[in-house]
């Protein structure tokens, strides 16, 4: 699997672009299975790096969404409220929130596409 190189990744399987758009990875949606609900914060909410800011639900599991970096929510993908299956169809296009990044330096701590790919294959090896 090759991951888009226009963004950074977390070990909790979120991606974030340079302009602060956040979503979950293809690998994440695959291990969750059919996603039935996405719960997202309201515009204006402050999110903190490493802390949960929302949840994704499959039929029998709930997973927290962790903030890759800190920031303030500027937009929420409302379409996911009625069509959560978009995340399954194309996780790298189905963004969840856009944030105004508080400290761009925090981005440096995140994984590159190739590092993330390596991380995922190592994780699967366990």
């Amino acid at each position: 699997m090759s991951y888009p190189t226009d963004r950074k990744y977390t070990k909790e399987h979120e991606w974030i672009t340079a302009d602060g758009t956040i979503g979950i990875t293809t690998h994440a949606q695959d291990s969750l299975g059919d996603i039935v609900f996405v719960e997202l914060p309201k515009v204006g909410t402050d999110i903190t790096v490493g802390k949960p800011f929302g949840t994704v639900e499959s039929v029998k599991a709930v997973s927290d969404l962790f903030a890759p970096v800190s920031g303030t929510v500027t937009a929420v993908n409302e379409a996911l409220a009625t069509a959560p299956e978009q995340v399954n169809k194309d996780a790298h296009a189905a963004w969840m929130v856009k944030i105004k990044v508080k400290d761009p330096l925090e981005m440096n701590a995140l994984l590159s596409a190739s590092d993330y790919d390596k991380f995922v294959s190592e994780e699967a090896g366990h």
Partner: protein, 458 residues
């Protein structure tokens, strides 16, 4: 032991197959010092006939054959015979929560029909499969409102069932939900002016009961307006479900927390009953309790499953909407069958009879005592104020095999010698006349003793 299906030979064969010499070996994980070496001191094994006799004796000591005017959250209505006939089918009685949908379609479809009828009756979009009872349901509704609004305090009507308020106190204490109580007017209804002042920007919800504890019907629309104006939700508790046959449902409420006992559930000395929550579609993911939903199977055939389970404790654990697991499914089935029997027309006619009996009784009582809260519409309960302590009146009534109204002093000291009386379709005119006659007699004798009657006519 007659419930155990094994012969000594079976047991011996099984022990041999397992490879142990005695059943005690199977209990060896229990440290020896904690193994019980004696018989439990419980009653000896009894024959079925003895068990039946014992409980029949207890029934005789339990008000069998008395006429009762008690309501206050537990109502004596007729239970159609078909309810118990169907309920005792083993496939309902002895099945588990329908997690394996393919093998539990009967229970699931019944829950779906229950949810539909409760939504229809309460005027809400949807309802859950049941909660423990009306009191815990109301407490859960308040916690739900706190989650939805992100606010922390609750405004509670004082004329909400006092025991519901007690339960809410217990639940709210550790959730850090401060409560404000709002009193009632001379009509027994919530004091709207006081309510207006009590609701603030941190109010998650206003919780009222209608018909309220005194039997009076609240102006739900006016209350909803006050709550919604400040962004708070309105929760309406309904303790007397039969009222929904003739009283406009609380369509402006955000959550209805209902006790459905009136719909075919025996009084049973207080339980098991059937709580249920109903709400608007947009709040469904914050609602506790099981939900059955319609879907299709691989071949496109209609079927039902428990759904939105991610709200529940077995998945979300400490983040669940509630810790509730077991609910009141079998009792909900009684309610379901009752609603089906009476249906669209019968529920209204039944409610009308309740209304008529109560109107007659209140009218008769008012000739000899004061009927409080006369200024507002009521359903099947009313408050009678007497010159004598109602406990004393009731103890005389007991001599005539009549159980009088519930004395209110314990819950509302300011009401003095007041008692809450209830009539249903099962209360006959002659029962009412007898009770009124006895109360009138006691009133006359008290009045003749006191030259200056006090408080009676005020």
């Amino acid at each position: 032991m007659r419930y155990l299906p094994k012969s000594p030979a079976d047991r011996a064969a099984m022990l041999q197959a397992i490879g142990v010499r005695s059943v005690d070996e199977l209990f060896s994980p229990i440290p020896a010092e904690f193994r019980l070496q004696r018989d439990l001191a419980v009653p000896r094994q009894m024959a079925e006939s003895e068990i039946v006799d014992w409980f029949k004796q207890r029934a005789k000591e339990n008000g069998e054959g008395y006429t009762s005017f008690l309501g206050a959250g537990a109502y004596f209505h007729y239970r159609p015979v078909v309810i118990d006939a169907l309920l005792q089918r083993g496939e309902f009685l002895t099945s588990y929560t329908p997690y394996q949908a393919e093998f539990a379609q009967g229970t699931l479809q019944a829950i779906f029909e229950f949810q539909t009828m409760i939504s229809e009756l309460t005027g809400m979009d949807l309802a859950n499969a049941s909660m423990y009872d009306g009191s815990t349901g109301a407490a859960e509704a308040v916690m739900m409102a706190v989650r939805i609004t992100g606010r922390h305090s609750a405004v509670i009507a004082r004329n909400l069932h006092p025991e519901y308020r007690e339960v809410l106190n217990t639940y709210a204490t550790h959730q850090a939900i401060p409560q404000k109580l709002v009193g009632f007017t001379d009509a027994g209804q919530i004091d709207l002016k006081e309510l207006e002042k009590a609701v603030g920007d941190d109010t998650a919800c206003v919780l009222i009961q209608s018909p309220n504890f005194f039997g009076t019907i609240e102006d739900v629309e006016a209350i909803a307006e006050i709550a919604h104006k400040r962004g708070a939700l309105l929760i309406v508790s309904i303790a007397e479900a039969v009222s929904l046959g003739i009283v406009e449902p609380p369509r402006k409420a955000d959550i209805v927390a209902m006790e459905a006992q009136s719909f075919g559930v025996p009084l049973g000395f207080g339980g098991p009953y059937c709580g249920v929550l109903a709400t608007r579609e947009k709040f469904v993911r914050q609602m506790p309790g099981r939900l059955a939903g319609q879907t299709v199977d691989k071949n496109g055939k209609r079927g039902f499953v428990l759904t939105l389970a991610t709200r529940e404790q077995h998945i979300r654990r400490e983040k669940a909407t509630s810790n509730i697991c077991t609910n009141q499914a079998l009792v909900a089935l009684m309610v379901n069958i009752f609603m089906t029997v009476y249906g669209k027309i019968g529920l209204r006619e039944l409610a009308k009879q309740n209304l008529a009996k109560t109107a007659y009784a209140a009218d008769q009582f008012s000739k000899h005592a004061k009927v409080r809260f006369a200024g507002a519409p009521r359903f099947n309960e009313f408050v009678v104020q007497t010159s004598e302590d109602p406990y004393a009146i009731n103890s005389r009534l007991l001599g005539h095999k009549i159980v009088g109204g519930l004395p209110l002093k314990k819950f509302y000291p300011e009401l003095g010698h007041a008692a809450l009386w209830c009539c249903t379709e099962l209360t006959t005119r002659s029962m009412i006349d007898t009770a009124v006659g006895l109360v009138a007699e006691s009133e006359r004798s008290v009045l003749s003793k006191d030259a200056e009657p006090e408080e009676v006519t005020r």
